[in-house]
């Protein structure tokens, strides 16, 4: 299959050639498959002869109601949402000039979902009338944040996607924090983002239909100026196109479309991405064609996904459709990333190498700071009658939690350094590259594969998951170091989709699983903490022994080999160290802590760049951040407690975004 360039719409077609037959064939196949499943399902639900009586409301039996007020509106909402997302994705991609953009990858959808969740908690009355306004505000805020941050990097694909997906993850952590702060059940933690298409009436159809019609109409009006824009800003200006205004208007339109979908059914990720790219890859040449076919493919893809989800053998029909689209979308994102030209994905140069004259003094200061933190976290704390020094008995209760945070934070930070050195990418870390997710996925799979298991099996599963993910990442990085970042993001998305799939299965043990995934140190025993510390010592001393390799590897594969390094063996050893660190740390503080990302960056921004100092400094900084997060979690809302992993994600997410914005 020969395909055209996916990134930018081709010039306004000179010849109005009909689109290649492959596109109608694809649409037809998707449509037929969905139609077949749908017709079969509906016919089982209600005999065809009774359909009209049910729809006109003559028949009010249970099945007739289910048919007319649930099944049929769901079908139509499915089409409307799919089409809206397809249009929105084409608009985003056209204006941002990257085929990787859509509502989900830009953080727009999760911004809207977080705003809705926050409104539900703090100002429920807002939702009675202004639900869409709330969603729109959240989506707009998210997109402004992403664009502002990506602007520094010249709106490159990598920076857009990286900020977008980070904003998504951050919104997820904030949503989880909302749930915990309000003493709600933890179930929402991972499933809160997954949109469900279940309908119980026609309200959503009535809301979405006019919005899609209006949005599509506006999009068609914008086709000509947008095509002019594809010629380049200068040419477009010469043709009288107000370039900035046009960009703003198109982004606003796409955001509005995506936000109204979130407001109606929750986050349905990746459908727009898939639809827009399929349309372009299979022959939609002009923007007009892309808009039309993408909306059609979006509707059909979501319809087919939803039909599959509703088959009784798929988790008893309990799987939210949003989880299913993420499950299908993550590998797609991975494929698209692999197809990208390496040049599109070049990361910015690593931040300038400052003087390291004061590195020794800085390390000393970090060490002293960590010692103070640990002492404070252990001794100082809140009790029923205010802040006070702890007596020995309380100290003993705190000790395992502080030690576990210390060890986990330190080794996760070192894992971050190792990965940055190995991949040559300044933004690499176990969290961003999905290694933490891989470790967590290993545990989740173990949970559902075995009814009961010894505690050591959990470590083994986490280790296997982390190692497998790392291996995939290193394979990817052989192609182009910069791809792995996006690949890792796809893996992280895949993990949260898998987790929500498994949580939707209704297993009662999910409560334990959720408590663990939120990153709580509550259940850590002294023995667990000792293991964690031992692993940290092993990883850190191992990394210090491998310092020469780290220095050489950052010269690049060829450079390192030229200087006599057996790069293959060095990579395997470093990979094992990273996997060990990530697995043990993830078991202790959950997969969402961001410490492996934050700590190395903090240290780098202090001007520490040489391997020895970087490893030592990151370990100190990471341990300090995690101990601080655990301390805040234990004391902020005393006697209620916040999971340490979540607290550090809430500190680390914004910090990471800020660092991302500061690059260049």
């Amino acid at each position: 299959m020969r395909s055209c360039r996916p990134t930018v719409a081709s010039l306004p077609a000179r010849t109005r050639r009909p689109v290649l037959p492959i596109l109608p064939a694809l649409a037809g196949a998707l449509g037929l498959a969905a139609l077949g499943l749908c017709a079969a399902r509906l016919a089982v639900l209600l005999p065809v002869g009774l359909w009209s009586a049910a729809l006109t409301g003559e028949n009010r039996s249970v099945v007739a109601l289910v048919f007319a007020d649930m099944a049929v509106p769901r079908l139509i909402v499915c089409w409307l949402v799919g089409a809206s997302l397809g249009v929105a994705a084409v608009l985003f991609q056209q204006v941002l000039r990257t085929s990787l953009a859509d509502g989900a990858t830009l953080g727009v959808s999760s911004g809207a979902a977080l705003a809705l969740a926050a409104a539900g908690v703090f100002a429920p009355s807002l939702l009675d009338h202004g639900q869409e306004a709330v969603a729109l505000t959240g989506a707009g805020g998210a997109v402004l944040l992403v664009l502002a941050l990506a602007r520094r990097a010249g709106f490159s694909s990598v920076s857009l996607l990286l900020t977008g997906l980070t904003v998504s993850l951050l919104c997820g952590a904030a949503g989880a924090a909302l749930a915990v702060l309000n003493h709600e059940t933890l179930t929402g933690l991972f499933v809160w983002q997954s949109g469900a298409l279940v309908q119980n009436g026609w309200a959503n159809v009535r809301t979405l239909l006019p919005r899609l019609a209006l949005g599509a109409g506006l999009a068609v009006l914008l086709v000509r100026p947008l095509e002019a824009l594809a010629l380049g800003d200068g040419a477009a200006r010469a043709l009288g196109v107000p370039v900035q205004w046009l960009r703003g208007a198109v982004v606003a339109l796409a955001v509005a479309l995506a936000a109204s979908c979130v407001s109606a059914v929750g986050v349905i990720g990746f459908i727009g991405l898939a639809a827009a790219n399929l349309a372009r890859l299979t022959g939609a040449r002009t923007l007009r064609q892309a808009l039309g076919w993408s909306s059609l493919l979006g509707a059909l893809l979501l319809w087919l996904t939803d039909e599959i989800v509703q088959q009784p053998f798929v988790f008893r029909g309990n799987l939210p459709t949003g989880s299913a689209t993420a499950l299908l979308g993550a590998p797609l994102l991975l494929l698209l990333v692999l197809r990208q030209r390496a040049a599109d994905l070049q990361p910015g140069t690593p931040p300038g190498t400052h003087r390291t004259a004061h590195a020794g003094a800085l390390l000393l200061a970090l060490g002293a700071g960590l010692a103070c933190l640990v002492a404070v976290a252990l001794v100082w704390g809140r009790a029923a009658d205010g802040w006070q020094m702890a007596d020995p008995e309380i100290l003993l209760l705190r000790l395992p939690r502080v030690l576990a945070a210390l060890g986990a934070g330190g080794m996760l930070a070192v894992a971050g350094v190792l990965m940055q050195r190995m991949t040559g990418h300044p933004m690499a870390s176990p969290e961003v590259l999905g290694v933490s997710s891989g470790a967590a996925l290993g545990v989740v799979l173990l949970f559902f594969a075995a009814p009961s298991f010894p505690a050591q099996a959990m470590t083994g599963a986490a280790l296997a998951g982390a190692a497998a993910t790392l291996a995939v990442i290193l394979l990817l990085s052989r192609h182009a170091a910069s791809r792995i970042l996006l690949g890792g993001m796809a893996l992280a998305t895949l993990f949260s989709a898998c987790a929500s799939v498994l949580l939707a299965s209704g297993d009662p043990r999910t409560a334990v699983l959720l408590a663990w995934m939120s990153g709580s140190t509550y259940r850590v025993t002294l023995a667990d903490a000792a293991i964690c510390l031992a692993a940290a010592v092993l990883v850190i001393s191992g990394s210090l022994l491998a310092l020469r390799w780290l220095g050489l590897l950052s010269l690049g594969e060829a450079g390192a080999r030229g200087l006599g390094l057996a790069t293959g063996r060095a990579r395997v050893v470093l990979l094992l160290l990273t996997a060990l660190a990530t697995a043990v740390a993830t078991l202790t503080i959950g997969p969402l802590s961001f410490v492996g990302l934050m700590a190395p960056h903090l240290v780098r921004s202090l001007g520490i760049t040489r391997p020895l100092q970087q490893v030592a400094g990151s370990a100190l900084a990471g341990a300090g951040l995690m101990v601080a997060a655990d301390f805040i979690g234990r004391t902020l809302l005393f006697p209620w407690q916040l999971p340490a992993g979540m607290v550090s994600a809430l500190i680390g997410g914004p910090l990471f975004l800020w660092l991302l914005g500061r690059r260049r």
């Binding site: 039996s61 249970v62 109601l65 939702l127 309908q199 309380i394 209760l397 705190r398 005393f638 006697p639």
Partner: protein, 300 residues
């Protein structure tokens, strides 16, 4: 609309007052036992025996859900029921820590702070009301409060009989659903066999409209459309605050919900919340709430 069943409320108030008046006397005579409760089933059982708990998890929600057996002011909060604050608990030096059977995974951790006792109410294939009674009796025996336990159970039985007699005077009661609206606005958790709500309904002579198997916790998740199968039924849903508001908002926009016969006939009502995993005092509250909700308004 509500405010029916005044006589009965008065009687239940009296018995509650009586038991409360009887019990604190011996409690103040000796040093009060220092017993903490990681779940409300333990807390309310202690209070029923006239013992103020040393500390209780999530005291805020307890006060909302169990106003009949009020926690004395100033009982320390232990935070989340899933992760009771160990530091707070240790500082209080408990002589005994009560946990519920669903918290069994906390036994090891909390056991380091003092002896624990597990209260089992909801256990598959057993009668949960009988479990709740046994739990109260056993706790009374352990704490030397056999008399108080027996008195409380006797008062409860008398109250239950009273409610049942009044309900029986009603002609042909409608079948009833009792449950919690799911936040997704498309499903409802309904109580059935395995929960003591079912036992209470049986004793009150009510017919549970739920006719499907329930989970290990005695409830079932049911789609809205299923309610169309029993047009004559009444739905009583627990008002759990923000969560219930969210569900109501979604339902108010649902054409399917609005078209249900029981919604159109106004036979869907919010009732104050009760703790369905609780002990005898929670059962007592449930009895009163169901009776109040289903009694014709002119009676009493």
């Amino acid at each position: 609309m509500r405010g029916g069943g005044h006589g009965l409320s008065r009687r239940s108030c009296l018995t509650a007052l009586l038991s409360a008046a009887l019990c604190p006397l011996p409690a103040s005579a000796q040093a009060a036992p220092r017993i903490a409760a990681a779940d409300w089933a333990g807390a309310e059982s202690l209070l029923a025996l006239g013992i103020a708990p040393l500390a209780v998890s999530d005291t805020g929600t307890y006060r909302d859900w169990l106003p009949e057996i009020p926690l004395p002011d100033g009982v320390p909060d232990l935070g989340s029921r899933a992760e009771p604050n160990m530091e707070q608990l240790a500082a209080l030096r408990p002589e005994l820590i009560l946990i519920s059977n669903w918290q069994a995974n906390l036994k090891g951790l909390l056991g380091a702070l003092g002896p624990t006792e597990t209260i089992s109410i909801i256990v598959p294939r057993t009668d949960p009301l009988e479990n709740a009674r046994t739990a109260l009796t056993r706790l009374g025996a352990r704490l030397g409060r056999e008399r108080e336990a027996a008195a409380y159970l006797a008062a409860f039985d008398a109250a239950l009989d009273g409610f049942a007699r009044t309900m029986a005077r009603q002609a042909e009661p409608h079948p009833v659903y009792v449950g919690v609206l799911h936040e997704n606005g498309t499903q409802v958790f309904l109580y059935g066999p395995g929960s003591w709500v079912q036992t209470v309904m049986d004793r009150l002579g009510l017919r549970n409209a739920l006719d499907r198997p329930t989970s290990a916790f005695g409830n079932a998740l049911v789609d809205l459309a299923q309610f169309a199968a029993t047009p004559e039924a009444t739905l009583l849903y627990l008002d759990q605050g923000a969560r219930t508001r969210r569900a109501e908002r979604l339902l108010s926009r649902s054409t399917l919900w609005q078209a249900l016969p029981m919604v159109q006939a106004g036979r869907v009502r919010a009732i104050p919340p009760f703790y369905a995993l609780g002990g005898v005092p929670s059962v007592w509250r449930c009895v009163r709430l169901l009776s109040d909700a289903l009694m014709p308004p002119d009676r009493g």
